[in-house]
């Protein structure tokens, strides 16, 4: 970010003209002002992140189920439950699988879209707006939309499969494990691929075009130019896109809640949904807290791995 680099002298302090003591009072008053105006943000952010985290950590070591009378210190019981209750581990597995598959698919397609939109052609603005719109609508919309598309009775998917005499035309998509996952993946990819495309497109557009001209003169072919020039220069953008998408994908909730409720059975259960149910249907804040703490740790791990992997500092995207 630009802000931390530009540690500039505050406008109020003119060190050259004012005496040293005067400059120090000015600096002190500048700092006081700075702390005063950054404090509200920090307080609010602490209230909505640090407080819940501490509460969850505390609770994860307590017996705190609203449906039971047992209270008090639980030791590691809630964490032990994660590994013994045959819910958490399958959900972790589903979530990991979903994250890898969705991020890979979305990155490949998103990269394709970005490369295509980086070319100049008539009507590019409109194409970009069209491709961009799915990302802008709420996830609830994409989930409901694709639930309609995959509906066995009046959905588009089975209609087309029937017309083309293809197999699976009578599939009730959301009623069996693999087809339900396919539907969830399509809904997720449809909404989130544009995000990757946008970030990568912005990354492509800051690559100066004379580099490509030089490569052309040197006789590099398209694939080599892409692999040796575009891809390395795209690394910062790729890092931002992947980091955001991986963490969001890991926390997938809306699509699962709306399309399958984790079903059939618990075959599309994911961690965020499991966590939500721990709070709102089991009322178990000890166990729920343990799941939440695990999720925070996993999110931090993902961020850490990416920062290590790409060796560039992340910034807000």
């Amino acid at each position: 970010m630009a802000a931390d680099q530009q540690a500039v002298a505050p406008p109020g302090s003119r060190r050259t003209r004012a005496g040293r003591g005067n400059a120090q009072t000015l600096l002190a008053s500048d700092r006081r002002f700075g702390y005063m105006i950054i404090a509200p943000l920090l307080i609010v952010l602490l209230v909505i992140t640090a407080y819940p985290l501490i509460y969850n950590i505390y609770n994860s070591f307590q017996h705190d189920n609203l449906l039971s009378f047992q209270r008090g210190f639980a030791g590691l019981a809630n964490y032990a439950e994660l590994f013994t209750n045959n819910q958490f581990l399958p959900a972790l597995e589903h979530t990991l699988g979903f994250t890898v598959v969705s991020v890979v698919i979305e990155t490949l397609i998103g990269l394709g879209i970005a490369l295509a939109l980086n070319k100049k052609f008539r009507g590019r603005g409109l194409v970009r707006a069209a491709v961009f719109i799915p990302w802008a609508v709420p996830t609830v919309v994409s989930a409901e939309l694709w639930r309609t598309m995959f509906d066995p009775q009046q959905g588009f998917v089975n209609f087309v499969l029937t017309k083309l005499h293809l197999p699976l035309a009578t599939t009730t998509w959301l009623d069996s494990t693999w087809t339900a996952w396919a539907a969830i993946l399509v809904a997720d990819a449809w909404r989130n691929t544009p995000f990757i495309a946008i970030v990568l497109l912005a990354g492509l557009q800051v690559i100066p075009s004379d580099i490509y001209e030089a490569a052309k003169i040197d006789g590099a072919n398209a694939w080599n130019t892409f692999r040796r020039l575009t891809l390395p220069l795209l690394k910062p953008a790729l890092m931002v896109a992947l980091l955001f998408r991986t963490i969001q994908s890991f926390m997938v909730f809306d699509v699962v809640y709306i399309m399958t409720s984790g079903g059939p059975g618990t075959s599309t259960n994911v961690l965020a949904y499991l966590n939500w149910k721990a709070f709102f249907t089991l009322f178990d804040y000890g166990y729920g807290g343990a799941v939440s703490v695990s999720l925070v740790i996993i999110a931090l791990l993902i961020a850490g791995v990416y920062v290590r992997l790409f060796r560039v500092e992340p910034a807000a995207a």
Binding site: I37, A116, F159, Y257, N275, F279, A317
Partner: protein, 296 residues
Amino acid sequence: MSAATEVALRAPRKSQARALTPGKLARKTGFFLLLAIFVIVSLFPFYWIVDTSLKTPQEIDAGTTSLLPGHVTFSNYIDDFTQQDFIRPLLNSVLVAGCTTIVTVLLAALAGYALARTEIRLKPVWLGFILLANFFPVIAIVGPLFRIYVHIGLLDSYPGLIIADLIYTLPLATFLMSSYFSQIPKSLEEAALVDGSTRLRTLRKIIIPVALPGVFTTAILAFMFTWNDFILTLSFMTSPSRYLATQAIVSLGQSPYAIYYNLIDAAVVIISVPIAVLVLFAQRRIVSGLTAGSFR
């Protein structure tokens, strides 16, 4: 970064007067075919849902027989607004997203100015914390906030939801505001300060107006992020009259026996329209805000 984008976007097209060889023609056709696929895949589901939303429940039950729109009825939209009272959750969404946006811009402008233009210590620490907050799993705030909201009476209230919604908006907004502020020439505020204006007043009267385009970008993104929320309204709003539109859609015409696609699809169209309009008019702004600060 946004300046570079603008330049790239506005660069004149190279004249393509060269003759097309068959190979080139094939590649060009392939390219436009690919673009057509992108556009169709992006937009077709919207067509489908608009089409479905204009059918009667009987027609929907009868199953799909054609891709083309058939007999058009607005009864689902009318039902949504009359029987289902969908206007109420829509207004709730506008209210909550609007208030969240205002609070976000206010807090982010102050903090962004502190980060860009004051000499506070430990700036990397504050920036790092704001960055981490951006990656904080929303699900992990839901349980604890629910408990405390029950105690302090913020459950099922607009302020409670607005406070929680700030998790979506504050980190990015603060980064954006601070990067916009640091682009403003310092001479501007120095002049005002010499004239004896206080710093807060200078921020309000000089800096913010100059950074207004950035403020708009921040506000639009904050509004979109809040408008999209589902998990927080689902967790904190317990009475149907307080539901946001996203939560209300899921429970429209809810019955254990059927899903009322006609009502749901009409409502999906209704809540997508404001976002579609926003994208059409502010696309460049949204994109630049979303990608600003990503690259040095």
